[in-house]
């Protein structure tokens, strides 16, 4: 049986979550916290994956996060908060599809913002996360 570690909340009176891959609030009821640095579309050698291809970059970002989660015995279901930084919000719907594949079962709270630039001009998305393990 899965131990309940986090309670999702979308209370009446607040605008509902726009997409199924996040919740308005997540209450952590147990577990250790894991803070994951902002992940970008670098492969294991530090080379950019998916130049000019935001969808490919997002897939690499979430692969990197999945790798870090797994190394700590966690999965996407344990993520309680993500902050998503993109250089351009025009591909929001494609990003939503990718996030939905990973987070719809156990949505974290979420913030997304468009920023002026990331650490390398080739990078189009960065995602940081907090997990309760």
């Amino acid at each position: 049986m899965t131990v309940l570690r986090a309670e999702r909340s979308n209370p009446a009176g607040a605008p509902p979550a726009l997409r199924p891959y996040y919740a308005n609030a997540v209450r952590v009821t147990a577990g250790d916290l894991l803070f994951i640095s902002g992940q970008v579309a670098w492969d294991a050698d530090g080379d950019v994956v998916g130049r000019d291809d935001p969808v490919r970059q997002a897939e690499q970002v979430f692969a990197n996060i999945g790798c870090i989660l797994a190394a700590h015995g966690a999965t996407f279901d344990d993520v309680v908060k993500v902050t998503v930084y993109v250089t351009d919000l025009s591909w929001f719907d494609e990003l939503s599809r990718i996030r939905n594949e990973r987070f719809s079962a156990s949505p974290p709270s979420s913030t997304i913002v468009q920023v002026a630039a990331l650490v390398d001009p080739a990078l189009l998305i960065e995602v940081e996360a907090i997990a309760a393990i």
């Binding site: 803070f35 902002g38 920023v115 650490v119 960065e126």
Partner: protein
Amino acid sequence: MPADVTTSPAREEHRVAGLPEPLSHYTDAVRWRDLLFVSGCVGMGPDGQVPPGDVTAQARLAHENLGAVLHAAGTDFAHVLKVTVFLRSAGDRGAVNEVRKEFFGAAKPASTLIEVSALALDDLLVEIEAVAGIPS
């Protein structure tokens, strides 16, 4: 309805003497149990002055301010869990990283870095926020 700030003993606000006055309705840090959430620290001296155009000096002041908040809350750089670094120019990250190494020593926080189109004041080049653990 405004919240009563004394509702929970787990929550404690920290306003640190000697740091620049907060620019609006926030305080320097808030502790929740053994977690400390530190507001964005900027390159502003105790006199409220920002060294214009000098990202290294600003980064040093920002880390000094962060260190003062950590110390006031009973923790230190070795217990920082996560930082978020906001730069006006991502190209300044090398200079900021050198300063970070001076203050963090062997300890490495989780980190996110982004370039933003503006910070709260025109002269600011860097802002650093942090989440830290407080050792028992």
